[in-house]
Amino acid sequence: MRALVVIGAGASGMAAAISAHDSGVKDILIIERGPEMGGILTQCIHSGFGLHTFHEELTGPEYADRFQKEVLKRGIDVLLNTTVLEIDSHFIRYINSTGIYEEECQAIVLAMGSRERARGALNIPGERPAGIFSAGTAQHLMNLDGCRIGKKVVILGSGDIGLIMARRLTLEGSHVLAVVEIMPYSGGLKRNIVQCLEDFSIPLYLSHTITEIKGKKRVEGVAVSPVDENLQPLPDRSFDIPCDTLLLSVGLLPENELTKKAGAELSSTGGPVVDDSYETSLPGVFAAGNVLHIHDLVDYVSQEAEEAGRNAARYILSGECDEACIPVVPGHGVRYAVPQFISRTGKDALIKFRIAKPMRNAVISLISDGRIIKRMRKKVVSPGEMERVSVQKSLIDSELKLEVAENDET
């Protein structure tokens, strides 16, 4: 029997394994579906990783390499090209080219990351022509396989992945005709708007969406419509953009098929419900990184996973399990909050949350049973950026609620 199995060797899986090892659990196995460690980082060749952790700006592969070295230094077992098929209480079934295996373990860290929202989920009318890619698939094809994607490209979605791909395609000689965004603001960083779009004069259509994909065999163009304040397209103001390729960058979803089948309770983030030790509703099963909720900064993925790894080690070594009894409730202006429960153990809890819409002069309030226990002001908040707040547990009665409101008086 293994002490700990970590599923996935992305930023989260590597950090969880390292910290569990450093907390005294040596018998660890990491199982990774891909041919190398690093997860999504291996295809993110742009720079912008690790400023908080290493105080320098690294590319994705460089950030992954630093953690991979730490994993190898500790002699932690890693199985590559191996996929976990099922978690059945504390048994893990996995498959690779040599067969199907089963491993019993004391604890599990879920670190499967995310997958992209598919086009089907968006219901754009049209045939199913060639030339439609999700942005992440396109990134993989270009950066790891050296493929060219298309000559004239339109991108739907202006989050960071869409912006970064607009630049990447332009550098490789494609003509990016437009980035189309349904919201009145971009979910991406200012820096990416400037350095990925403005540097190359790529137009950004805010409050617009794609209402039709034209072409039978290959994409021949898209119909773009402005939307009203309820995000409904205004078809009489629609216009066509001829193109041969459409990139869909419409968001990531936590990858939780395994989690669901294992019977863990899921939350509105698409990830499992966890307490502040990152334990799911299944005892001894922990989760961290994009599998739990989508992160924009890898540094916070690594920190969260370190915490999960440390708690998994504590569970293995002492059999201790905190009783998480205080619910964390996303209130007005808050889309979600993680963890969903906190325990009475320890002094402080770190709550991560996302805002529902961009605000200036925002006031963030932490409320326990109708009483404000903490208040913070921020000049700008945006749904594209995860917020973090630490709260002293002794101040909370039976429930913790988060609210965010715009404050006009500065």
Binding site: P61, N143, L171, L189, K190, Q195
Partner: protein, 120 residues
Amino acid sequence: MMKRELVCIGCPLGCALQVEADGGKILSVSGNSCPKGDEYARQEVLAPKRTLTASVRTECGSKRCISVKTVPEIPKDKIFPVMEIIHTLSVRPPISIGDVIVHNITGTGSDLVATSAFPS
């Protein structure tokens, strides 16, 4: 005299900056809420620089590409000339992270450096 409007990329606040310049001299920067904005505006108007990242094809072996970046940053107007060189390159193993692939690429004074490894 020239006036330029920029959005500061220093932090999520995204201050709207106004820059007045005359030839190669900055006369004034306004709109910034902190010194970082002033510094950014001067750099961006006088000599904008970028880190360029890309992939380079390999000649053989298990990997089709390795990733690269320019160290230090290159002038913004050198992005496409450097990309042209990158498109002509192909590399062989072994390559470690940090290996210089091209010294002083197109005379920018910057090196093209590997950011992923390609063991033999």
